[in-house]
């Protein structure tokens, strides 16, 4: 069975690694029309049919109120070489905090319970099941894998920013200038980006491929972030969603976000 480079990236989760060796490796393997056996995920990789995340906002808010916790953002931004420009105009962020009324504008009302009013909520890419960013991208640089993860191919992106206009959650950032001087202690195992391309949360596709959970999930000390496969009826995400009432951001838009907030 023939496998092209894109499928190869999709299957192996190398999509995000194209910046370092991944692209070269994929090009080597698939230069011309080399026939390959069906590619399989790495041994020990976490595989799922529909990845999703549940945020237990009670635990999260409590922790933030207690010590101003930013563990998840720091972990994510560190492993993904997210630059820190120190100004809002150039800002790039993958996972960050805002308040309940900004994360869920339609759910907020003047008598919102005290625990939610002004409470910190996490924002990140929703890995929408019906993602408008993928629909609008004119190059396929933004694409969705079969397991639902919405990924970026930094080498294909032309920087038109149609996806930023298309994302109704403000999940995407653009490299307005060369980010590399602003990455502290850049890690070798994840690509840094060049100027002029878009980036966002990748649900740690590169870590899943190694059998590890997303960095934010691992970093959270109060286990407020639960990650798992919604298609698996015995998964923890399914269980907690079954037991608690949960919200999604702007559900009326039909994007089917896969980040669930237990309130």
């Amino acid at each position: 069975m023939g496998v092209n480079r894109r499928d190869f990236l999709k299957i192996t989760g190398l999509g995000t690694l194209v910046g370092v060796g991944g692209k070269a490796a994929a090009d080597l393997v698939f230069k011309g029309q080399v026939e390959a056996q069906e590619a399989r995920p790495n041994e020990g990789a976490l595989v799922g049919k529909r990845w999703a995340m549940v945020v237990d906002t009670k635990k999260c808010i409590e922790k933030i109120h207690k010590d101003g916790c930013k563990d998840c953002s720091i972990a994510c931004h560190t492993v993904h070489n997210v630059p820190d420009f120190g100004n809002p105009k150039d800002e790039i962020k993958w996972i960050w905090q805002d308040t309940f009324e900004h994360i869920c504008p339609n759910q907020h009302h003047p008598f919102t319970s005290e625990s939610l009013e002004g409470a910190p909520f996490l924002a990140l890419c929703n890995h929408c099941d019906n993602p408008p960013c993928v629909r609008v991208c004119p190059t396929g640089a933004t694409f969705q894998r079969d397991d639902g993860i919405v990924l970026m191919d930094f080498h294909r992106c032309i920087g038109c920013r149609f996806c930023m206009a298309g994302c109704p959650y403000g999940s995407r950032s653009f490299n307005w200038r060369d980010p590399r001087p602003f990455v502290q202690n850049a890690r070798e195992d994840f690509p840094t980006r060049m100027r002029g391309v878009v980036e966002k949360c990748n649900f740690c596709a590169e870590r899943l491929a190694e059998g590890k959970p997303p960095a934010c999930v691992e970093a959270c000390k109060v286990k407020a972030l639960i990650f798992g496969d919604l298609e698996d009826p015995h998964s923890e995400v399914r269980e907690v969603l079954h037991e608690h009432y949960s919200l999604r951001r702007k559900p009326e838009l039909g994007t089917m976000p896969q980040i669930y907030y237990i309130v």
Binding site: P88, K89, D90, E91, I92, D98, E101, H102, I103, P105, A123, P132, R135, V136, C137, P138, T139, G140, A141, R156, C157, I158, G159, C160, R161, F162, M164, A165, G166, C167, P168, Y169, G170, R172, S173, F174, N175, W176, R177, D178, M194, R195, G196, V197, V198, K250, L253, G254, T255
Partner: protein, 385 residues
Amino acid sequence: MIDKALIGGRKYYGLIAVLLGVIGVGVLCYLWQFFYGLGITGLSRDVSWGLYIAQFTFLVGVAASAVMVVLPYYLHDYKAFGKITVLGEFLAIASVAMCMLFIFVDMGQPLRVLNVLLHPTPNSVMFWDFMVLTGYLLLNLVIGWISLDCERKGVAPPKWIKPFIYLSIPWAVSIHTVTAFLYAGLPGRHLWLTAILAARFIASAFASGPSLLIILCLIVRKTTRFDPGKEAIQTLAKIVTYAMSLNVFFLGLEFFTAFYSQIPGHMHPLVYLYAGLEGHGALIPWMWTSTALAAIALILLVNPGTRKNENILAFAVVAVFFSTWIDKGMGLVVGGFIPNPLEHVVEYTPTLPEVMITLGVWAIGFLILTVLFKIAVTVKEEAAS
């Protein structure tokens, strides 16, 4: 025919020199942007499209409006437009060229632009926009050039050109419809998510494009021996009048839907644009200028007495041009991003280099236009003598 662009008077060379100067500054600023990144603009992750895409959107309209001279002439045999169809087509060429340049300067990775063709994605409206704009450019190049060449030789245009001319009519509508679809299909951008957007785009296009054509006709008459004709100009003026009335009417529809329904998301961008939101209102003076210009222009245009006076008409169409430029150029594109998806109000102000690049692209457009018009007018002068 190219040779006709090379011989001209002092004014012609002077104009070209000025345009080249502006282009030079634009190119230098673009080089800066090229090596630094789009960070030299005022754009941010909240307002991620600005001046460039606004110009692109506006100019697609100007390009499409060529159909307003082509259609009456070829489908209704309206003779008065015979003299100016080629001017309309050449205006379209210059406009599409500017559109493409504005897209280009807006790209983060301009050298990868061919990825749009290498990885065709029919689900993306931008892919289609790319296609229809290129097609429209080619159509107008072929039609404009062949017709003018025949005029020069004093022969009738070849038969095979007819199907292309007919094709160019729906094609013109398509470029602006597809451009509207870039915006109108995005969930969560309330200012854009409106079924009437394509209709609005076309109405404002048929107001602004013919307005510019009237101005150009008046300039041509003043500076050359070619007279586009009073009747042609008056008919264009009527087209502007109807189109501008529709444009204002359509805008009114947006206000009604937003404010009668009282849906906050639909009201916010309009409130931001015209009254300011959470203490931010950078665009308020612009939007009210646009409104005032539209009102004045409509009064002067609807009234036959003032419309028939070419001096007043000139003023009115300049007003239409700037009114629609502000409304569609700045208001629509920037307003769509404010407030942002998390309902924060983050504003946008273009920077100086960004403005210089924008002017540079306009100057390239005008250079193309000047050269093409020079050729057309010289041919017409010679044919007449």
